[in-house]
């Protein structure tokens, strides 16, 4: 019975808690966005979760370190005018905080004990230029995700831009290893869209925060989006299964080798890294849902390999 309660809880929140607010997407790694100094509406410490059911989050104030100054946990439907859906604040409920914190610790150890050492060793053996090329290749191969989600968001110019990028990078970028489409002359911007964002633009809220083992920060909506993205990822269709796992693991090691230090910086800057990561993730996804394709103002495009 106890074993069923957790999945049941997830399904409950998935079904009931997604009608409002925040963002999207699934980013299995450490958060790509810098930590925000406030925002997290969720309760950082399970001991402080009010015993009562959800209360309005309007009065909620949580600082980076999770000191809640008011009642929290709004599963609610705070509709704020956004790109298309209702997401506008970077607040999210965190009813699974004990589980999330445990998974955070697990992922943290996994990063420091396994992923980082492997990525560092890999980085010492493989020159950065080659690693950037590999990263370009995987990005190019993920074109179907971006293209289809541009179409699902009625972002037809973005879809055309993605198609152009894929064509140019595949044909003149040596199968995607190089990224001539990002050059000044061609200047086709990558449309960083996924199913989670698409659901967000349809008005589906994030629901609550969930930290998956291995996959990292997410939400019910982004988890559903991640499954959708899987169907559009070419490597998913490789056989046998361990080939897929190997490709995914290599992609992860390669991408980690290019951003060692990002997670460490975020962690060092925060007194409660869990809250910082959660906050950064939510902000990051919120930002992505609220823009339509391309880059947000101030966002730097990935440097082309020249």
């Amino acid at each position: 019975m106890k074993a069923l309660s957790f999945p049941a809880l997830i399904i409950f929140f998935l079904l009931s808690g997604c009608a409002h607010g925040p963002d999207t997407a699934v980013s299995p790694a450490a958060p790509a966005a810098p930590p925000q100094t406030r925002q997290v509406t969720a309760v950082p410490d399970s001991a402080k979760i009010p015993p009562e059911p959800p209360v309005k989050s309007s009065a909620t104030e949580t600082d980076l370190y999770g000191d809640i100054q008011g009642p929290e946990v709004d599963y609610g439907n705070t509709e704020i005018p956004g790109k298309a859906g209702g997401e506008t604040t970077g607040e999210i409920a965190d009813p699974l905080e004990p589980f999330n914190r445990a998974m955070y610790q697990f992922n943290d150890r996994l990063y420091f004990w396994v992923l980082k050492p492997v990525a560092q060793g890999y980085g010492k053996v493989v020159p950065e230029t080659a690693r950037v090329s590999v990263s370009n290749f995987f990005t190019n191969a993920a074109f179907p995700i971006r293209f289809v989600n541009c179409l699902l968001q009625a972002n037809f110019s973005g879809a055309a831009e993605e198609l152009g990028r894929f064509t140019v990078n595949t044909l003149w970028g040596v199968g995607g290893l190089l990224d001539p489409a990002s050059s000044k002359e061609i200047n086709l911007t990558k449309q960083d869209e996924d199913f989670g964002q698409t659901l967000g633009t349809y008005g589906l809220g994030q629901g609550f925060f969930i930290n998956w083992p291995l996959l990292g920060p997410s939400s019910p909506r982004d988890t559903v989006g991640m499954v959708g993205d899987l169907f559009l990822t070419p490597s998913t269709y490789f056989s046998p299964w361990y080939a897929v796992a190997g490709i995914r693991a290599y992609e992860k090691v390669n991408s980690t080798s290019l951003k060692i230090g990002d997670y460490e910086s975020l962690k060092e800057a925060a007194i409660d890294p869990y809250v910082a990561v959660r906050d950064a993730y939510i902000q990051y996804r919120l930002k992505k849902v609220h823009r339509q394709g391309g880059l947000s103002p101030g966002e730097k495009p990935a440097a082309p390999l020249n």
Binding site: G173, E185, N306
Partner: protein
Amino acid sequence: MKSLTAIALVLLVALLSPSGANAGGPFGPPQPSAKEAGGLHTGIGYWLQEDQYKDGSEQVMRQNQVYSELGYGSGKSWEITARVGMSDLNLPDAFSSSTPATSTSKRDFQEHWKFFGTAGAKGFHPFNQTFGMGVFIQGTYYFSDFSDNVSGNRNGVPFSADLAVRKLWDVNFGAGFQATLLRNVKLYAGPYVHYAEFKAVPSSNVTGIALVSGETTLKNKTAWGGFAGIELPLAMGFSLNMEGQFSERFSFGGSILYAY
């Protein structure tokens, strides 16, 4: 005056060179496609290759090649290039019988796409802003065999035989003259020498069909050729290269290049 003499000499050799040569793709303009500061260039292209081989009898070979190209070098002096592509192979009348006693189900050898690789290097010396001259070497190798099957009757007895075309390769060495016109349009031409060969390996011998009468090595009929082409700058860093190689058979193709 000195440059004009060189130009005249190159053109003369190119125009008067005997035909019969073969090549595994375009040579490109003498001046490297990379930017002047140096760097990479990439490209995709199509090449229709025709050639004549001989070993006792003569055999025409026709190929459609599509390829992707990657080069690195300095815009004014040198460049190395690699291509990977796929090509079909057609040997017209390869299964035609020379005797009435043998009849076959088809005349032509045909096989679909197989991988090939090409590597090349070139050096360029500009005489002035307009004219320049360069030399190049380029070789192609086919990683896979081509094969086809023929069946028929020999004196009323049915037969079936496979023919494999193995170890097809070539190497080319040449020199080209280049004139750079307005808007950086480049015209070029020059002569080249060439060697190519492949092995024809039948599964059984059939009297009356030259290529199916025992293992043979065929080589290109003549070793000289001439080539000419044009490179047109397009928008956004792309350029279009079109080239023809003249011999007993005419080969031609085009590619779109991008310089980083």
